[in-house]
Symmetry: C2
Subunit: 204 residues, 2 copies
DNA sequence: TTGCGTATTGATTGACGAGTCAATAGCTTC
DNA sequence: GAAGCTATTGACTCGTCAATCAATACGCAA
C-alpha cells in the first residue's frame, strides 16, 4: 500500500509546508497530525516517521519559520541612507510592511510566542529571535544617541533598540487583533514624526 | 454524596479564581476542567453545571480577567500633572510597573490574544480592551499634538495613542518572553527621553 | 530479474478529556 | 419533622487524537 517514494529533504519540506498552512489555520495546539498529513498528501504515519512526535513537528516548524523569515535585512538601500534616524525610520517602515503582507506568518509567530510562555525549548528560540531583532537595531540606535548626547543622557543603545522593537511588536499585536480600528498609516505617520524629533538638533 | 452548598455567586467566584490559577499555569488550551475543579475543591460536574462548557468557562474567565484588571486608571495624581507629556510619561510608567508586578495576569492576557486570533467572540473582547486602552491615551495625545502643531503635522491623536499602546504591549511581549535580556529600567529611560523630546519646544 | 532495504501505509491501541445524567445529600419552608 | 427543591456528585459515554507497528510496495543494486 505504500505510495511513491521521495527524497528525505523533499518529504520534510512538503510536510513542513503543510504544517505551516494547517498551523496558521488551526493554531499550534489545534494542529492535528492527521490534517497535516492530508494536506501534504501523505499518511499520518509518515509524518510521525519523519518528525517522531507532534512536538517534534512543531519545533521543526518553528525552525523552518524562523529560517524562512527574512531576518530584518538591513538592505544596501537602507545602509546607504545618510542619517541614522532616517535608516531607523526605513527599517521600521520595512518591518511594518511585513505586517500587512505576511499576516499568516505573523499570526504563527504570535502563536509560538504564547507557546514559549510554557515551553522552555520554544521560549529559547523566541528569545534568540528577539535578541537578533534588537541587535539589528542597536547600531542605528547607537548612531542616534551619538547625535544628541545631552538629550539622551542615561539612555543606552540597548534601551533604545528595545523601544524600537516594542513599537514593531506592539504594532503587530494591534494589527493582528484589531485590524479594523488600527490604522497602519496613521501609526506610521506618528512614528515618523517621533523619528524626526530624534533627528532634530537640540535647541541651543 | 453531594457536599455542602454555597450561593451561586460564591461558587462562580470560587471556580473562576481556580480557573485563573490553572489557566495561568497550563495555558488556555491546556486547562482541564478536572484540574480546575480539584483546585476549587468541587467536582468537575459542578464546573460544567455552572459554566455549561469549557468554552463557557474560558469566556467567563476572560470577562473576569478584564473586569478585575485595573483598567488603565488615569488617577488623580496623574491628571494633576501639568504638562501632557509628563502625564503620558506617568501613564507609561504605571503600565510598565504592572508588567513586573502582575506577570501572571499579563501572561494570561497574552494567551487570550492568541486565542482571539481564531475565536471571534474572544477577539471582540480583546478588541474592545485595546480600544479602551487607546482611548485612555487619546486625550493626552491630543494635548501633546496641540503643543507642537508644526512638528506633528499630519499626525493624528489616534495614531499617537496607537504608538503609545504599542510601546506598552511591545514591552510586555519582550518582558514576557525574554526577561533575562530585557532591561525594563533601560527601556523606561529610553521612553522617557523620547517623551522629553516631544515636550521640547520647537527650535526657532 | 531477483532480492534487499527502507519509505510508506493504515489498522489498532491506549489515554485522555469533555460533556451527560441519574442518584443523592444538603438546605429551606411550612 | 416532613416534604420538596436543587446544588452537587461521580460513574459513564463518546469522540478525538497521538503514537505504535506489522505488513507491504517501491526503488535500487547486482
Amino acid at each position: 500500500m505504500p505510495g511513491t517514494k521521495a527524497s528525505e529533504s523533499t518529504r520534510r519540506e512538503q510536510i513542513l509546508s503543510a504544517a505551516y498552512a494547517v498551523a496558521a489555520r488551526r493554531g499550534l495546539q489545534g494542529t492535528r497530525i492527521q490534517e497535516v498529513a492530508e494536506h501534504a498528501g501523505v499518511s499520518h504515519g509518515l509524518v510521525l516517521f519523519y518528525f517522531k512526535s507532534k512536538r517534534g513537528l512543531l519545533l521543526a516548524l518553528l525552525d523552518w519559520l524562523l529560517a524562512t523569515t527574512t531576518v530584518l535585512h538591513v538592505g544596501r538601500d537602507i545602509i546607504r541612507l545618510r542619517s541614522p534616524a532616517a535608516r531607523l525610520q526605513a527599517l521600521l517602515r520595512q518591518e511594518m510592511n511585513r505586517l500587512s503582507n505576511e499576516p499568516v506568518r505573523i499570526r504563527l509567530t504570535f502563536d509560538f510566542w504564547t507557546a514559549g510562555i510554557r515551553d522552555a525549548e520554544i521560549r529559547l528560540k523566541m528569545q534568540q529571535e528577539l535578541q537578533r531583532y534588537r541587535d539589528a537595531f542597536r547600531p542605528l540606535a547607537t548612531s542616534v544617541l551619538a547625535g544628541d548626547p545631552v538629550q539622551f543622557r542615561g539612555v543606552t543603545a540597548d534601551g533604545l533598540a528595545a523601544v524600537s522593537v516594542s513599537v514593531i511588536k506592539g504594532c503587530a499585536v494591534q494589527a493582528m487583533i484589531d485590524p479594523e480600528h488600527f490604522d497602519i498609516r496613521q501609526f506610521l505617520a506618528a512614528t515618523e514624526s517621533l523619528m524626526a524629533l530624534m533627528l532634530r538638533p537640540a535647541a541651543a
